[in-house]
Symmetry: C2
């Protein structure tokens, strides 16, 4: 049995514009890394967290990674085990890129691999959702499921949990820009209306049906036409600096679609090639600089494998 | 050039439970027939309608078939032509099975074929929608599009019109029962709430995304799990005698799913084989007889071709 392991898990884009709370996909960059080591002591310790500017708790009872790993260990009657965790954040916290999900999934995949548990990674989903519940107050799966399974994932239902992995066109690229402003997930959720118009809901489910069809048909045009959100984006975009200006810039450069990643403030665009994705991140980041907002930019293909062992 | 033609067009099931206003599919039975003949006179006449109990207008300005054919002829500058139409209704009117759409599509396909217009049948869609506008007060496409194109059809958007043909598992059967009670389309539409809860809408679009995925994946279990409607069915089912009793009967016999066809009162069930579909129609029709309601029952595979020339 291995004594220690290093695991990467990917950032994720939840909602995918027209699939609020039910769709998400994983990217190859950014992502978080967890280093995990079996120890002689009893219980879990977190010896180090980097890249978080001191914002995440080292207390294993309060950190989503250790909490979800603890739930997993209890489920297999191994809560007696000794573990030390190092968490290396490689993406901003509170960015709308599934930062806590990436850490949690990396931790769960690390312990699963260390213990030689050969079940399908989807067996980890309930434990990852426990981590999400702690991080965001909701046991949502639209970040953890794609982080764990890779690719595009539909959460058709929560009770019972029904998760469907969707295909995608091979040549799809993703440009992501995180404008460094504060949009807490809880508040981004609170501003969404509880009641909506039936006619807007019909528009939305026509679009998600179109998006899912486009993913199966490898029809990037249909994917682009379908990625419209008449319900959530009009509200959440207010929390993102110059959202509609950024959209226009991205579409003018040749984006297939543009929208908010999760609850924001990160935005993302699909493109047909790396070059266009790079042009979009540079253009948007230059614009954010011009209005005195810092940013991170990422260009990536879709991550199809979920977490992976680095060493 | 042929002088006369006889065309069949299929009945259709709109909504498909979780796809209110955006999904529909065609069946091979029932369907309507149109006999069309070129004449020496100017303009369109309707010489005969059978199977309608005298409910449909012979006035070509008021009949959806002639009105949509007229729109088509104007679009190709042939409004001068002389035509006689016979319409043979082979399914009940006001049944929620796209009765007017079947007639309209049969008429349009007849004239297109008579005139040797070799465009794709989808070119007829705008004219068929004109007929629907007259029949139901709404230019909906969730019956005419599947009647015209066959198979499952998604209307992703109306403006601009964006229609996507979806695949389906080969072994899918459909049982349809029409309870002979009156549910006018207009009123069935009026009782639907204008405002709904966001959380119900999220459930609904998780389900339509699941249904579309199931159709592409040929996963009949996923199709069945996804066909739940928390928004429209709870209201419209009140207009259908013993709806929930009929559902239970169908599911007990082995239906994959059960729901309202269009705005009702017809109900339908998907099954994995003809035998189960037959058992469902007999059981439901026997129940309706026991509560003194007449009915029609149909068992069919999915119609994949849309209209066809009979002679």
């Amino acid at each position: 049995m291995k004594e220690s392991i290093k695991v990467f898990a990917p950032a994720t884009v939840a909602n995918v514009v027209c699939g609020f709370d039910v769709l998400g996909f994983a990217v190859n960059e950014p992502g978080d890394e967890v280093m995990m080591r079996l120890t002689d002591k009893h219980g879990i310790t977190i010896s180090k967290i980097t890249g978080d500017d001191g914002r995440l708790p080292l207390d294993p009872k309060k950190n989503t990674v250790s909490v979800s790993v603890q739930h997993y260990l209890q489920s297999i009657d191994r809560a007696d085990i000794g573990l030390d965790i190092e968490l290396h954040k490689k993406m901003p916290i509170g960015s709308g890129l599934g930062s806590s999900s990436a850490s949690t999934v990396a931790g769960l995949f690390a312990i699963k691999t260390l213990l030689g548990d050969e079940r399908d990674p989807s067996a980890l989903l309930p434990f990852a959702m426990k981590g999400e519940e702690m991080a965001c107050g909701h046991g949502h799966a639209d970040n953890v499921a794609p982080a764990l399974l890779g690719g595009f994932v539909l959460i058709r239902s929560y009770e019972p949990l029904d998760v469907v992995r969707l295909p995608h066109p091979p040549g799809l690229w993703c440009a992501i820009v995180f404008p460094d402003v504060d949009v807490p997930t809880r508040e981004a959720r609170q501003i969404i209306r509880n009641k909506i118009l039936m006619k807007d809901a019909v528009t939305q489910w026509g679009n998600i049906a179109g998006l899912v069809s486009g993913l199966f048909m490898q029809d990037i045009d249909l994917i682009g036409r379908s990625m419209q959100d008449v319900l959530v984006e009009p509200v959440r975009s207010m929390l993102i600096p110059d959202f509609y200006e950024m959209r226009k810039m991205a579409m003018d450069v040749g984006a297939v679609s543009f929208g908010i990643s999760g609850s924001g403030p990160s935005v993302f665009a699909f493109t047909r090639d790396e070059e266009t994705a790079k042009r979009i991140t540079s253009k948007l980041q230059a614009h954010l600089t011009s209005i005195k907002i810092g940013s991170n930019g990422y260009v990536s293909t879709i991550n199809d494998k979920g977490p992976r062992v680095l060493g």
